[in-house]
Symmetry: C2
Subunit: 388 residues, 2 copies
C-alpha cells in the first residue's frame, strides 16, 4: 500500500568543528543545497521533518528547534515536525517523512538533520551525549572524564567480541585505517588524512581497547534530503527508497541482534538481500560497531567481521565497500545529522557523482544508523535501502 | 490516497500535580489504558510515537525519551519515534502516526504524550517553557518572574483584541467560568471547582488583563491513543480520523491566521465545515486564545468571539460546546500531553461515554492544538477532526 518514495535532492555541509556557525546556519546551508540539488523551487516543499538530538542541553533551545533553525529561510511557515532518536534521529525523520509521502499527504518534503556538538566546555558535550541513555538509572547522565559514555559501551562490546571470536586489535585498527583512507577522498569529511594501521594502533587510548582513530569525533554539521512522490520526467538522478525500517532493542538486547532484526525487515521490504548490495554506509561510532554491523547486515557470518575487514572486502575496491564516505570515524558524527549524511553518500554513489571515492556500477546501497542505549537495548536502529 | 485511520482506544491519567510520579509512570498509565480500551493485546502495537516537550530541560533526559519512559512496559523493543512540537507535540505525533497507518506501514500504532512540568523550583519550569520560543533571540529563554513567557504573549493578544473588537474582560472571564464548570464534570480534570464570572474576575492578576482563572495551570499528566487501519468488526466504539492538518505560522503571523489556515486544510480534507461540528476542544492556554479560536475555526465571524461566548453558544448545552473537558484552563495543560487529551475527549464524546459532560448526539468533533512562538509566528498548529 502507498506509493513510491524518491530521493530528489541531497545536500550537506562539510562536517567539522564550526565554532562560528550555529545549528540554524548549518541546517539552512544543507537545506538550501538539497533543494537546489533537486532542482526544486523552495515553495514546492510542503513539510519539513527536522532532526536534532542535543540542542536542548547544549544551547537551551527545545520544543521548536526546527522552526527556530529555519526561521530566516524560504520555508518560514512550512509545517515542521521535530524528530529525535539520539544518533538515529535523522534516519528516523526520513522514516516518518517517507510515510507522509507514501500516504499521499505531500508531494515534496524536506528532511533536515543538524547538530552542533562543539561547546566551549567539552565536558558539557559529553554530559549531553549521556542523555541518550536512561538518565534516571545509568548514573543520572553523568559522563566520564573527557569522553562519551558510549565509548565505554563500545569498549565492552569490543572486549566481548575479541574474547568470543578472536577479533584482534589490528582488525579494529584496519577499520579505522580504511575509513580514514576513504575520508581522505571526501571533500566534506571532518578528517581528510589517511592513517596507517600502525598510526591507528599508536593513537591515544580512549577506553581499552579503543584507540582514538578507532572512534568517531565530536563535530558539527547538517545534512538534508528532499523526498518526492514521483521521479521527475527524464531524470536520471532520482534515487528510489526501497526500504526504511526502524526498530528498537529487544529483551535479548545485544546490539547485533537489533541491527540484524532491522536489516531483515528492510531486506524483506526491498525484496533484496546482502548479496545484492553494492555498498553500505554503517554506524561506525567506533571500529567495533562497524565490525558488528558487517555481521548483523549479513555481509559475513557471525564472528567473521574481523577477517572480513582484513580481507579487504569492505575497502573501496573490495567486494562490498563499507563507509566510502569515511563513515562516522572520518566523515564525522554530528549526531542528528549522521543518518541523512549516510543517505547523501548513498545517493551520490548511486548517481555516479562520488568522485574519487566512487564505487563503480553501484545500483543498490544500504545505510545502517543506530543510536541511544536504554539498559542493554539499542534505543533505535534504522536501515535504509536505496536504488538507482 | 492511503487508507482510513481509526481511533481504536484512548486513555489518559488524571491531570494535576503528581509530585511522586515521573514521566515514565504517567506515560505507562495512559498507554496501558488506551491499549486496554481498544481491546488489543499489547503485542499488537507495532510502533510508538512519543511526544514530550520539556523533559530534557527539567530532568536532563533527552534523545531517547520515549524508549526510557516505556523501558519497563510490554512495548520494550517496539520501534519508538520521539516527536516534539511544543504545546502541539502530541497532536503532531498523532499526525505522523496517522501517515504511517495510511501508508500501510503498520496496522496498529500507539501515540503517547506525557509531560511532567512540576519541579521543586517553579522558576525552572517557567524557564523550560520559554524554550518553546527562539532562545537565540527572545531574551535567551529567560522567563519573567513566576509566570510563563507565553502569558505575556497572550496578554498582548488580549489587549489587541479588546482594542480592536471591543472584547471585554467579562467575556474573557466567561470563558474561564464556562471551562471551570465543564471541568467540574470531568473526573480527570486538574481543577474540578466551578467558578463564577465574578470569581474569575477577582482572581489574581497574572499579566494585565489576564487573571489567574483565565489561564491554564502548570501540571503533569499523560494521554494516549491507539490508531488502527480498520474498524474492528462489530465495533460501535471506533472513531474515524477525518483529518489531521499541521501548519506553522506565516510571515503575516497573527495566531488567528495560522489557526484559520490549519482549520481550512482540515475542513477540506474532512469534507466538512464549522456548521457540521457538534463540539470542539480548543487550545485555551488562556481565555483569549479560546476566543481567537472561535473566530479562526469559523464558529463565529472575526471579532465576534467575545459575544459568541457571552451568548452561551460555547457552553455544554449551547450550539457548539467548546472544551467540554474543561479545556487547558480546567482539565489542565501538561504540554506534551495536551493534544492527545483533546483527542481522548473527542473520542469519549463521539462514543457517548462522556458522562455528565456528554454533548448529546455528537457525531463530528474537532480539536485545535497550537504551540511554540518563533518571532510573531505560532510554531505549530494542528487541527484534528474525528467522526463517530
Amino acid at each position: 500500500m502507498g506509493g513510491q518514495v524518491w530521493v530528489l535532492g541531497v545536500g550537506m555541509t562539510p562536517f567539522g568543528k564550526w565554532e562560528s556557525k550555529d545549528v540554524a546556519e548549518l541546517a539552512l546551508e544543507a537545506a538550501r543545497a538539497a533543494v537546489a540539488d533537486g532542482g526544486l523551487e523552495p515553495r514546492r516543499i510542503e513539510a519539513i521533518y527536522f532532526a536534532n538530538s542535543l540542542c536542548g542541553l547544549l544551547t537551551g533551545q527545545e520544543a521548536v528547534r526546527g522552526q527556530v533553525a529555519l526561521r530566516d529561510s524560504p520555508w518560514r511557515g512550512v509545517p515542521v515536525v521535530n524528530v529525535e532518536n539520539a544518533c538515529a534521529s535523522s534516519s528516523a525523520a526520513l522514516h516518518v517523512a517517507a510515510h507522509a509521502i507514501r500516504a499521499g499527504e505531500y508531494e515534496h518534503v524536506l528532511v533536515v538533520g543538524a547538530e552542533k556538538l562543539t561547546h566551549p566546555d567539552k565536558q558539557t558535550t559529553f554530559r549531553a551525549l549521556a542523555a541518550a541513555s536512561d538518565c534516571g538509572r545509568e548514573g543520572g547522565c553523568a559522563a566520564p572524564e573527557a569522553r562519551s559514555v558510549f565509548m565505554d559501551y563500545y569498549a565492552a562490546v569490543a572486549r566481548r567480541h575479541m574474547e568470543r571470536y578472536g577479533t584482534t586489535l589490528e582488525q579494529m585498527a584496519m577499520v579505522g585505517a580504511k575509513n580514514s583512507a576513504h575520508g581522505a577522498l571526501n571533500p566534506l569529511a571532518q578528517f581528510r588524512t589517511a592513517r596507517s594501521v600502525a598510526e591507528v594502533l599508536q593513537s591515544r587510548l580512549v577506553v581499552d581497547p579503543l584507540r582514538l582513530f578507532m572512534c568517531s569525533p565530536i563535530g558539527d554539521g547538517a545534512a538534508a534530503v528532499v523526498l518526492g512522490n514521483r521521479r521527475p520526467v527524464g531524470s536520471r538522478r532520482a534515487v528510489c527508497v526501497l526500504a526504511s525500517a526502524l526498530r528498537s532493542g529487544t529483551v535479548d538486547g545485544a546490539d547485533r541482534e537489533t541491527i540484524a532484526r532491522t536489516a531483515r525487515a528492510a531486506y524483506e521490504r526491498a525484496g533484496c538481500g546482502p548479496d545484492d548490495l553494492h555498498l553500505c554506509e554503517v554506524h561506525d561510532a567506533t571500529a567495533i560497531a562497524e565490525i558488528v554491523s558487517y555481521e548483523a547486515l549479513g555481509l559475513c557470518a557471525e564472528g567473521e567481521g574481523g577477517p572480513f575487514v582484513e580481507s579487504g572486502a569492505a575497502s573501496l575496491r573490495g567486494r562490498v565497500p563499507v563507509n566510502p564516505s569515511g563513515g562516522l570515524i572520518a566523515r564525522g558524527h554530528p549526531v542528528g545529522a549522521t543518518g541523512l549524511a549516510q543517505c547523501c553518500e548513498l545517493t551520490w554513489q548511486l548517481r555516479g557523482e562520488a568522485g574519487a571515492r566512487q564505487v563503480e556500477g553501484a545500483r543498490v546501497a544500504l545505510a545502517e544508523n543506530h543510536g541511544g542505549l536504554v539498559g542493554d537495548d539499542v534505543a533505535a536502529c534504522c536501515v535504509t535501502i536505496l536504488t538507482a
